[in-house]
Amino acid sequence: MNREATLSVDPTTVERLMPLLRFADRARRALQYPALGIAGLFALWYWGGWAIANNEDTMAFASFAPGPTLAAFWELVSTGNVWSPIESSLYRVGWGLAYAIAIGVPLGVMIGYFLTLKQVTHVPFQFLRMISPLAWMPIAVLAFATWDAAIIFLIAIAAVWPITYATAHGVQRIDPTWLKVGNNLGANPYHTLRYIVMPAIAQDVFAGIRLAVGVAWIVLVPAEYLGVTSGLGYAINDARDTLEYDKLAAIVLVIGIIGYMLDAICVRLIKRSSYHAQG
């Protein structure tokens, strides 16, 4: 039967399908290991769900298992209810990161450029950096009129450090003769920034942004536990209060997926901004 099917195929069809087949082959090769990892995670999850369901003490949480969770996930997606909390959360993370970049990049450039500034800022910045952003929560709530602003502040204060220090690192790696040559060719400060400094540090800046996105996305959820009535963090809290554990797990899944996508975007940007010759 198989053989008949093969025989009856028109050779030109095969030819036309070849690129597709080749693409499929490449995709399979590229994806087989990631697929293995995902399968492993699922197996663990499945086993965890099974263990919870078979223990009398934890039976009430059985809907954390893949089955109920995926059902709840599908419901969130198909009803479109998932978009509103995502939108609120991305809005906050987006603004938080925007402020962190607006402050972190210039600050990093200056720290990288002026050794004295680096020395002056070292202790206070390391001190501030090690304070959990969530510790600022009560102050943020007092200082800002809206909950949104407070959360954006918390995200920004968490995200600013990796961006600042990655930028400074990039600036320190600039070859001094690049600046000399630029000077010699008649570059004004704008030229130096636009044609020399920025392209030279772009990759480091994006690497910093990638770290910052990770931190911001982590800080977001606990920050949304308080006060606000929208966002993914709020949705988790809400699901817990209403004992909808399948929905709670589905939101966790959403957080993970979006976090992964944000990271993937950053990796893309890092690659694209790298000036190192592609090997």
């Binding site: 070859d175 003769t177 690049w178 000399k180 040559v181 630029g182 000077n183 010699n184 060719l185 008649g186 570059a187 004004n188 030229h191 044609y195 020399i196 392209p199 030279a200 000036y275 190192h276 010759a277």
Partner: protein, 284 residues
């Protein structure tokens, strides 16, 4: 046209250094002249070149180009370094165009760069990223980048020392040709005696601690120079002699058995040796 340079009694102290790095340097360079600076490592050659470029201000004395004191860098006098120092995120064309972009001279940029790249033999590589070029090709891009702004003066700090012998000779001849065509004055630093004799109209030998000009040698050989001609070989030996003399003086205290020789004797006796040994004299 080439720049007339007047170096007027330059003395330079780097902060924290006891001895001056340069002391009472006085040199005149005629328009279109090519000068080689040669001397032991650390004697202040790069320091002097940075001052000519306006990248460093001497603590005493001044540099004048066409009568104007040099106080800051300008595209009219361009410096090239040992490393090509190209911008690795740009194509060959973009690197070469940068001076014109910075000066806002974008009108006929395309055609100017085209002809310049042709001059240095990189027409085919114009749109290629500079990282994919060989060391010699990269140094050619750097040369094109320096020439794009029509400088009156080229300052070269050991520009070819990282290249293989063939590429080095080719580039030496190329710089000489271009400088003559355009009437550009050139001041270059080298550790390679042959390079000095091949390119320069005048060779200045520098001594160290503090850096001063200790000898001067005219190279009166017409271009293109035959590197095997007697005149060329003699000049190389003479220059080696100057250098040998400074070395002898420096090591006289430690090596007791050594007899004092005048530069000329030294050159005469060591002539056969000089010819066979590599003429590179980076100090030990």
């Amino acid at each position: 046209m080439g720049a007339a340079i007047s170096i007027d009694y330059i003395t330079h102290h780097y902060p924290g250094q006891e001895q001056p790095t340069l002391k009472d340097i006085q040199v005149q360079v005629a328009p279109g002249e090519t000068i080689a600076l040669i001397g032991q490592s650390g004697c202040g050659k790069s320091t002097l070149l940075h001052m000519l470029a306006g990248l460093l201000i001497p603590s005493d004395g001044c540099v004048r180009i066409n009568g104007h004191q040099v106080i800051k860098p300008s595209p009219r006098w361009n410096m090239m370094f040992q490393k090509p120092s190209l911008y690795p995120w740009m194509t060959v064309r973009k690197n070469a165009s940068l001076g014109l972009i910075f000066q806002g001279r974008k009108r006929d940029m395309q055609s100017r760069i085209d002809s310049l790249l042709e001059t240095v033999g990189l027409t085919e590589k114009a749109e290629v990223n500079v990282q994919s070029l060989s060391g010699g090709q990269q140094q050619r891009v750097a040369l094109a980048r320096s020439l794009a702004t029509d400088p009156e003066l080229l300052l070269l700090d050991e520009p070819f020392s990282a290249l293989d012998a063939f590429t080095r000779v080719a580039l030496q001849d190329e710089v000489v040709r271009l400088a003559h065509e355009r009437g550009i004055s050139v001041v270059f630093v080298t550790h390679d005696i042959e390079e000095a004799v091949a390119m320069a109209d005048r060779v200045l030998v520098m001594g160290s601690n503090p850096g001063t000009i200790t000898a001067e040698l005219k190279v009166d050989i017409a271009h293109p120079r035959n590197r095997n001609s007697q005149a060329f070989v003699d000049l190389k030996a003479e220059l080696m002699g100057y250098f040998g003399a400074t070395r002898t003086a420096a090591t006289a205290e430690s090596s007791t058995g050594e007899t004092e020789t005048t530069p000329d004797d030294d050159a005469g006796e060591d002539k056969s040796k000089t010819e066979h040994s590599s003429a590179r004299v980076r100090a030990a």
